[in-house]
Amino acid sequence: MPSRTRGPFENRLVIAGLVLPGVAVLVFAMVVPLGFSVYYSLTDWAGFGDYRNVGVDNYREILTEDPVFWRSLWNVFVLILVTIFVQNPVAFAVAAVLSHISARLSRVLRTVYFIPAALSLVIVAKLWVDIFNPNVGILNKLLVAVGLDSLAVSWLSNPHTALWAVIWIIVWQGFGWALLFYYAGLMTVPRELEEAARIDGASWLQTYTRVIIPYLTPVISTVIVIDVVSSMKQMELIYLSTGGGPGQLTQFLGVYLYQKAFVASEYGYGNALSVLAVVVSVALTVIVQRALRAFPRDDG
């Protein structure tokens, strides 16, 4: 039948036409740049001028001779752990409280909590660099005022506190997003589900751990994946606060590959770092998603 033979042909054209723009964007915005990145990662290009192919030398050097790479990766893992096990539970708890207080107060508090997330990263970085400043910063002035002089240190340049100070800035800035996700998720939990649990004699803790959290597993998974990805590409707040210092103690992959490419003029090496960053990001995302599948969930 003519209509049956022409239909699929037409459909394929239509499908191709509809898919093509998306595929083109994907190819030109992601696949081609990644291809270039892989190509340049195999060279000793300085970013300009002549270059030669060095095979996998850059990768070998990164993996076997570059402690800064491993330090950067370690710092990323620390940040991921802090966001998952500290920022997320706190954000969830605050969201839970906000979902049970009056709508007006909840709205005001949500706005307040979200302000850091809405601020420019430059402003956030400069704000905290000033707060942490050992000479003129308000934090040390407060500590001295309440008699805790011994705790007044150079927060961002002291090797013992620098990483935690930087992670604090990142967590503070990102808290609003986590809160927003959890609050939105909590608003979707049917009231009758909660009431049924209560009628069955569940305490509020049991209601949350046995009913609400399993119900929100998809939201939690999404937030965790976002945390992992944003930790991997963390750059601006580090660059603007410590620049990776003191030494390389607060170095993160995003800053390190930028510094290698555009400060040290080791564009090839920087590209190798970026390729490894993509590989680690994809691997971590897959691992996290698989791990989260093991959690109990309510799929409705």
Binding site: A46, G47, F48, V68, N135, V136, L249
Partner: protein, 425 residues
């Protein structure tokens, strides 16, 4: 209408708007520099030169992109990668910065004869010569000195600047007792500490050629003199000579602490001569800012008048510029106007000869005297005479050393490994 009349009218209509458009067309020179403040000192001088150049060349527009020092250097590298360098831009003559651009064919050689008779100090033009060709015009004479605030010294009961590192270290607790930060510098970017490391090595050994010889692998960075220089720098840091957040203080933060009267000393180059005329700071500060020679070390063979001096900052022309003739005209104009204007406004110590005037600021007089006193001069070898990678390696090693994460011995070992790598490339 006759065809000929129509043709004449059509041509007239086509030509008249075209000529009007031509009259309105402006030729634009794209420029870049590291002087974001365009209303004070050096930036204001450049703005005045640009205004005079535009007045003398109707139809010329100058568009300038400015960023602070280190971000600007990174921006130039990114622009070079993207093949979008400005037509004329400020840069640095060093092997670690200019040479890669020369090797890559990104900058245009200049006709040296156009600049030979413009009063450049000995060695100034030579600093910009690669392969026998001149690639940049030097703008400033750079000396490594310590600026100080005479009032803060007086407040702390200090009557004269220190002449030795021991005396400098002894000032720290006295200033701190008065709530004054003893000395500031840009630790985040690490290069001022690297310059100081070279300076200390010279003060200890009396031999300015050691870093260059170590880079050429005719000496080792693990030699005792470099270990001692690193130890001396660590001794200064541990004694609290620098600001507490040294390693996260950038150029602007350090400069502001000094300019706002919170720090008594500022370890920096003579390009900060404009501190004495910078209206963003108080009258009291400007009246009290002065400079002194980098101190000697106890038992060192170096003399106080061994002067660390070089010609770093320059202006270069992009090889891809579409306005090369105009760019060259601008550079000639700049070379003629800059020394007079910069000295008149006490904004910079030019790389060309200037005469002292009765109205010069105190800090300007002192810098001229430091030059006049110099018995020997040398530049910043470790930082500037190697490859970009070595520059990055020494800065990173310095961050580790200054943060107390690695020992002076480990620091010099890292430099030696980096110098080996650099010499193989």
């Amino acid at each position: 209408m006759k065809p000929t009349t129509f043709l004449v009218l059509a041509i007239a209509l086509a030509v008249i708007p075209a000529s009007r458009v031509a009259a309105q067309t402006k030729t634009t020179i794209k420029m870049g520099d590291n002087l974001p403040d365009r209303s004070n000192t050096w930036g204001a001088v450049v703005e005045q030169i640009n205004a005079e150049f535009k007045a003398a060349n109707p139809g010329v527009e100058i568009v300038t992109e400015s960023y602070p020092d280190q971000p600007y250097q990174q921006k130039v590298k990114i622009y070079a990668t993207a093949k979008q360098l400005p037509d004329v831009f400020k840069f640095w003559s060093f092997t670690s910065l200019l040479k890669p651009l020369v090797d890559g064919g990104f900058v245009e050689p200049l006709n040296r004869s156009e600049f030979d008779k413009l009063g450049y100090l000995t060695g100034a033009l030579e600093s910009n010569v690669y392969g026998g060709k001149l690639y940049g015009i030097p703008v400033s004479a750079d000396l490594w000195v310590i600026y100080y605030n005479k009032k803060l010294f007086k407040d702390a009961g200090i009557d004269k600047p220190p002449g030795t590192i021991d005396e400098l270290i002894a000032l720290a607790p006295r200033l701190k007792a008065k709530g004054i930060v003893p000395m500031v510098t840009d630790g985040k970017d690490a290069w001022p500490l690297c310059v100081t490391f070279d300076q200390l090595a010279w003060r200890i050994s009396g031999d300015a050629t050691l870093p260059a010889r170590a880079l050429a692998r005719k000496a080792r960075f693990t030699d005792p003199v470099f270990v001692q220089a690193a130890q001396e720098l660590v001794r200064m840091i541990k004694a609290g000579v620098f600001q507490d957040d040294l390693m996260v203080s950038d150029y602007g933060a350090a400069r502001n602490l000094f300019g706002q009267g919170r720090a008594a000393m500022y370890l920096m180059g003579s390009w900060e001569l404009g501190l004495g005329a910078d209206k963003t700071f108080s009258d009291e500060f400007r009246a009290n800012v002065d400079a002194f020679k980098f101190p000697v070390t106890a038992g060192g063979k170096g003399k106080i008048d061994d002067l660390f001096a070089w010609f770093g900052g320059n202006y270069v022309m992009s090889a891809a510029s579409k306005t090369k003739a105009l760019d060259m005209k601008y550079l000639q104009f700049y070379a003629k106007r800059f020394p007079g204007l910069a000295w008149e406004k006490q904004a910079a110590l030019p790389a060309q000869k200037v005469d002292a005037r009765p109205g010069d600021t105190q800090v300007a007089k002192t810098l001229l005297r430091i030059i006049a006193d110099a018995k020997a001069t040398s530049g910043t070898a470790s930082l500037d005479l190697s490859t970009p990678r070595f520059k990055d390696d020494i800065e990173n090693a310095m961050r580790g050393l200054a943060s107390g994460l690695i020992s002076p011995e480990e620091f010099t070992k890292q430099l030696d490994v980096a110098a080996d790598k650099a010499s193989r490339r």
